[in-house]
């Protein structure tokens, strides 16, 4: 039975972006339906149309055969449709059950909140949905994964029959993912319908019943997950065979560039400490830092760049001691692509020109005139045009705001800027997070170009495939320490996964029987 039909749904963002282009697709009752596509393919937009957040400019949405015209998520909720967004908004100080009933509290005859009944109802909802949640836990103490479940419980408590999840796994640590998937399957078996968006094709194939591929706002195909494969989906998404193999050629590494000895710092949001860390990155070498989020990789990067204070016996780029230097002075020796391009890598509301001028404006001769007082916009403009052409970024004008570009293009602008700040060391924190497949390939090629030019590259990534493809050497961080340092040619997913999850070097620790590979638990 069909729950929802999209018929010719079109959404245009002026002046000419067709976010959705004549999309027609059905969602069956009791299925898990995945939506995949590159960034900007229209997945989120389509789901927001269903959720009543976005009104289509043409076409219609039918729910149980009748055309609906939702004006807000509240209208969709009344029809049993609800969405879990990537950003989770909960009241940290309240308990799980209080958050779940918030806005929909059962009341006593006197109009007071019936706390006992509310708590019982929530506990029953959680139990029947098989969610691993404690109703009395304070939400502020929960992990991101558990908070996501609170959002799901919230929808279930409001009798939502069709759940939409926007990239639910992006915020989860690897062990949390199979748990979520079991819960989603449980919900489906319970008769509910689940729509979810993901960038991870392996997840999609493992979890979904059917998969719809979107490209440039148009529906390309809807397939049964059982009869498709990751490579077929990837091909449909980008209409070409993505080469997910290493382009790395052997190179003789040069002299040490980054030397870190005994570096210690605090880890934000964690009781464990960072370090002591010893690390060397050489010329013509890509060093990868792997680890489950929150194990100190991000803090290591911040300590290198100078955002947070650290103690170190040695912290050098070339012969320069970074320890006494400010962020600006450190930028004379290193280029840096931060993990969050929207708040750290760039200013979305500012023109592309002004985004590429950052750091250059103080350090590169020619970007300012009159002894550094006047800002030379012409120089910034020629750099922006140059980056746009070299990286093949689709934009009408370099005076357009950065936010008007797709996520992948934004990241290319940031990468282009940092590559043009020619420094012996470049630090990249999650360089391809939330970036479409096509752009990932290009960003990887650029990183390898930097290596070939003789620079030292430090890449932090949660994506092991990416690290295996790019790096000469990989180190794994676990609770703030390096637990594995391995040549990429000797590394494999199992070794890295065990180091990430258990903090052990599986080459020296005997393998327990029966053999288990935590990373393969990810379907």
């Amino acid at each position: 039975m069909v729950v929802v039909s999209f018929v010719g749904v079109t959404k245009v963002y002026p002046p000419a972006v067709r976010a959705l282009d004549d999309v027609t697709v059905d969602i069956d009752a009791g299925e898990i339906h995945a939506f995949v596509g590159e960034n900007g393919a229209g997945k989120s937009t389509l789901m927001k149309v269903l959720n009543g957040e976005i009104r289509p400019d043409a076409g219609r949405v039918e729910v149980f055969g009748s055309t609906v015209s939702y004006r807000s998520p509240r209208d969709a909720m009344a029809d049993g449709i609800g969405m879990v967004h990537q950003e989770i908004l909960l009241v940290d100080q309240l308990t799980v059950w209080e958050n779940v009933v918030l806005g929909n509290e059962p009341t006593t005859r006197f109009g007071l909140v019936d706390r006992d009944r509310a708590r019982c109802e929530v506990a029953a909802t959680i139990a029947s949905a098989g969610l691993a949640l404690e109703p009395d836990a304070i939400v502020g103490t929960l992990t991101v994964g558990a908070r996501q479940k609170v959002e799901i419980a919230k929808l279930l408590h409001r009798n939502v029959r069709l759940l939409i999840l926007d990239e639910p796994t992006a915020v989860l640590t690897p062990p949390e993912i199979p748990e979520l998937f079991d819960e989603l399957r449980h919900l489906r078996d319970d008769g509910r319908t689940v729509c979810f968006i993901s960038h991870h094709l392996d997840e999609v194939v493992g979890l979904a019943d059917r998969v719809t591929v979107l490209r440039d706002g148009a529906r390309i195909a809807t397939l049964a997950a059982a009869s498709t494969s990751v490579s077929e989906l990837a091909r449909l998404m980008v209409e070409r065979d993505v080469l997910l193999t290493s382009q790395r050629t052997p190179l003789q590494r040069g002299a040490p560039v980054l030397r870190v000895r005994g570096l210690e710092a605090d880890i934000t949001g964690s009781s464990s400490k960072l370090g002591p860390i010893d690390l060397v990155v050489h010329e013509r070498e890509v060093l990868g830092v792997a680890g489950v989020e929150g194990n100190g990789q991000h803090d290591l990067v911040e300590a290198l760049v100078g955002v947070v204070d650290c103690e170190a016996a040695e912290l050098r780029v070339g012969e320069f001691d970074l320890r006494p230097l400010s962020i600006l002075d450190r930028r004379r020796h290193l280029a840096f692509v931060p993990s969050d391009r929207r708040t750290q890598g760039g200013a979305l509301t500012a023109p592309i020109v002004e985004n590429v001028a950052m750091t250059h404006h103080r350090l590169t001769p020619g970007f300012s005139a009159m002894r550094g007082w006047l800002f030379d916009r012409g120089r910034a403009k020629s750099l922006a045009t140059d980056i746009r052409d070299r990286f093949d970024i689709a934009s009408s004008s370099v005076e357009a705001p950065l936010g008007s570009l797709s996520g992948g293009s934004q990241q290319k602008v940031v990468l282009g800027r940092e590559m043009s700040i020619e420094r012996p060391l470049i630090v990249l924190d999650q360089p391809t997070r939330g970036v479409d497949v096509g752009s990932i390939e290009e960003i990887h090629r650029r990183i390898l170009d930097l290596r070939a030019e003789g620079r030292a590259v430090l890449v932090v990534s949660a994506d092991l495939d990416e690290l295996l493809r790019l790096c000469d050497r990989i180190v794994v961080m676990f609770r703030g320490r390096l637990v594995l340092d391995i040549d990429a040619d000797d590394a494999n997913l199992e070794l890295l996964g065990r180091a990430m999850l258990e903090g052990i070097d599986a080459r020296t620790v005997p393998r327990p029987a029966p053999p288990s590979a935590p990373n393969e638990a990810r379907p």
Binding site: D22, A58, M358, S396, G438
Partner: protein, 351 residues
Amino acid sequence: MTLDRSWRTALVGVVVSLFLGALLAAVLGYPVVDMFSALWRSAVVKPGRLEATLANAVPLTLTGLSAGIAFAAGPVNLGQPGQVLVGALFAVTGGLYLHLPSTLQVPVLLALGGLGGAFWAGIAAFTKRRFGMDEFIVTLMLNEIGRLLTDWCISSPLQDPKAGSVTTRAVHASGWISRWGSVSFGLLVFAVCGLVVRRFVVGYEWRMMGQAPMFARLGGVRTDLNTTAVLLFTGALAGFAGAVLLLAGPHRFVKGLGGNYGWDGVMVAVVAVNALLGCLLYALLFSGLQIGSIGMELAADVPSEYVQILQAIVVLVTVAVRGFLASNVRAWQARRRARRPRSDSSASPRS
């Protein structure tokens, strides 16, 4: 292109609010046509009125720029009323005790006014850097302290013993400025602000800080230094307004000298969305309404307070129109384009 759109929005906002103002006046039984023509005549047409409107716009523009530049860079400077008063206090003190030739006296007194405003904002900059205190609260609270301080100064150490009211003596005539002098000074400061914000490296850093503070910091912008600089700079702008009010106006620090210029400046910055030229134009509009109000009362028998209602309508409607046009014009464009076939939309992200 964005300039075009914001111009159109502003124009629609002003026209709609004048229309609503007329409608309200009609409902209240005022002679609408007479009222507007009297307003126009006594703000612009009658001899000397255009100069008055322009001169009155100078302090408004300065306080508007002060608030707008600060907001656009991040630091919330809401201390314009206090900075105006302390600026005027510095200027009047200089004017009473310095006797330089006019060509020197005027610039020195104006500079003293700027110094006074910067000093008053500097207190907030200091407490921000030293103790991490929120400049939003500190600048706001310094307004009241500034008012009490200047009231005390003009009623005790600086008071004119011969005057019957609370006021200082007049500053030496070499420090007086004419209406045109004040207008030229306003334009000069406006040009300097434009240069600093649009063309200087620090202006670039201020704008980036305002839009994405962490991006600026990681890119090597010294955000703490810049926050101090922004507070001092915008404090000086408000201080200039105080000096101009004093030297082009009563030439003495009378009680209530600062009027409502401080808060009106914040209002100007809000309707202008912190755009520099916008601050200038809205300041002119509000100045014209204020100057025209007395003539309107005399000629059309409409209470001059009605102009305050009109100002409030302009503020509300401009802000509302901006939101309305932003959502509805785009929705309309989108629907129109959705009906066209795909081929004529511009190239897809990947060819």
